[in-house]
């Protein structure tokens, strides 16, 4: 029989803070990281990680000589390293022999190191300089975060970055789950990262017309868009046999993974595509549609996503939807793009463990097109499973199923 895939370590960084405990506490208590985000030209709101990530609790304790070998780090890599170090320490795997060859890394990123790229482009296009820093490519490439984590931890197994826009880290977790099911690895560090709060990237999002000027109000009337966040989340996934053999503490199980591709439009979601991914995830985890679930919605707060997701949830669950509860933590940590699926799965697992659904923030009142059993106040709820939705530009849909330990 195939081993179950267990979650034995958690780590994250977001605008809500450094570390899983501070993130979960903030989400549970209904605190938001969304603040004014002043830029050189124009302004907006965003959920920014405070302080330099290299001074973060785990990264700052790494011996300088180990860190030096990694070269220059964009915030993207620094976030990944901080979350990865936390997850590995949490799993009790620091310097564990299994890291060397039976461990893999799959990190999802929507984009590479934006700050490094923009610094280089500014030299070329704004100041007409001839050269850019020699480490521009290696420190900004989208593969850098996975490579940096492998170098820091001495992981010699399969290591790569995967990219599917806003579903990147959910895809990373799902594909990592299959690597363990297939027996290709005993342990996978899986998750995602994004560092998109730079002038160029932010302006790109703003120009697309999807960013809210005030805040993120998922499924609410008068919502006016998404709010960008940044950070990283890394989970230690482990085969059940490996986890039992070493007596690992278990946070939960990654029990199912469903995907679909709309193959319709680059930015407009497709109800049937979303529904297909949710159904596939239930099927993979062998979870009935009426099993009480905490549904961690993609819930971006945009005009198009929220009604499409609501329609898909009605289509899949029908009258059983009333047995479930829907949360949308992007209202707290913002849309962390490549990191968002993973941090939402982390927070969802914490909610399962603590039987506490984190409240959806900034809600102004019902939108008839988004009629869902939303959690608007901190609420005690004892679901059997977590259904965590991620839907990306390109129509790339991913749904993860979590269970308690």
């Amino acid at each position: 029989m195939t081993d179950r895939v267990l979650v034995t370590g958690l780590g994250c960084v977001s605008g809500l803070g450094y570390g899983v405990d501070s993130n979960w506490q903030a989400a549970r208590e209904g605190r938001s990281a969304i603040r004014d985000f002043p830029m050189t030209a124009g302004s907006g709101v965003a959920a920014r990680v405070e302080g330099e990530p290299t001074a973060a609790p785990h990264l700052s304790t790494v011996e300088p000589e180990r860190l030096r070998r990694l070269g220059r780090l964009d915030r993207l890599s620094a976030f990944t390293l901080e979350a990865g170090l936390e997850a590995v320490a949490d799993a009790g795997l620091d310097r564990h022999p299994s890291l060397a060859d039976r461990t893999a890394i799959v990190i999802g990123c929507g984009s590479g190191g934006n700050a490094v790229i923009e610094t280089a482009y500014e030299r070329l296009f704004a100041r007409d300089q001839r050269k850019v820093h020699p480490q521009t490519i290696p420190s900004s490439m989208i593969a850098a975060p996975a490579a940096h984590l492998s170098m820091l931890l001495g992981i010699h197994g399969t290591v790569f970055t995967l990219s599917s826009a806003c579903a990147s880290s959910a895809h990373a977790l799902g594909e990592a789950m299959h690597m363990i099911r297939a027996g290709r690895a005993d342990v996978v560090l899986a998750g995602g990262a994004e560092a998109c709060l730079t002038r160029g990237s932010f302006t790109g999002w703003q120009s697309l017309g999807v960013l809210a000027s005030d805040t993120c109000r998922p499924f609410s009337r008068d919502r006016c868009g998404m709010v960008l966040g940044e950070g990283a989340a890394v989970l230690v996934l482990e085969s059940e046999s490996h986890a039992i053999a070493r007596g690992a503490r278990v946070h939960g199980e990654l029990a199912g993974y469903g995907t679909s591709s709309d193959a319709v439009h680059m930015t407009a979601p497709d109800v049937e595509g979303i529904a297909a991914a949710i159904r596939a995830a239930h099927h993979d985890a062998r979870v009935a549609f009426d099993t009480p679930a905490l549904i961690s919605a993609h819930g971006t707060g945009t005009a198009l996503n929220d009604p499409a997701e609501s329609a898909a949830l009605h289509r899949v669950y029908g009258t059983a939807l009333g047995r479930h509860r829907v949360v949308a933590t992007k209202s707290a940590h913002g849309h962390m793009i490549g990191a968002t699926g993973a941090i939402e799965f982390v927070l969802g697992l914490k909610a399962l463990t603590d039987n506490a659904a984190p409240p959806l923030l900034n809600y102004l009142g019902p939108d008839p097109d988004c009629d869902l059993p939303l959690v608007l106040e901190p609420e005690a709820f004892e679901p059997d499973v977590l259904i965590s939705n991620s839907f990306a530009f390109g129509g790339l849909n991913t749904v993860l199923v979590g269970r308690r330990a």
């Binding site: 300088p64 860190l67 030096r68 070269g71 220059r72 050269k131 820093h133 020699p134 480490q135 290696p138």
Partner: protein, 76 residues
Amino acid sequence: MTYDDILALVAQETRLPPERLHPEATLATLDISSIDMVSMLFELEDRYGIEIQSEELTREMTLRQVFERIGVAVPQ
């Protein structure tokens, strides 16, 4: 451009603590990689307009020789 300026630049680009940057240490013993060396030369040109080709530096050179090539005297 003083010796201290260049020392700080080398420390920044190699991410080595300045106290380890002894004038008699070679680039090899300090384990300065070729990409860090190229980064150092980039910053040198960018900040001070000093152009040195990477082929002019070898891993066997001491920091003192590198500083001399740059044109700053190591204090006695």
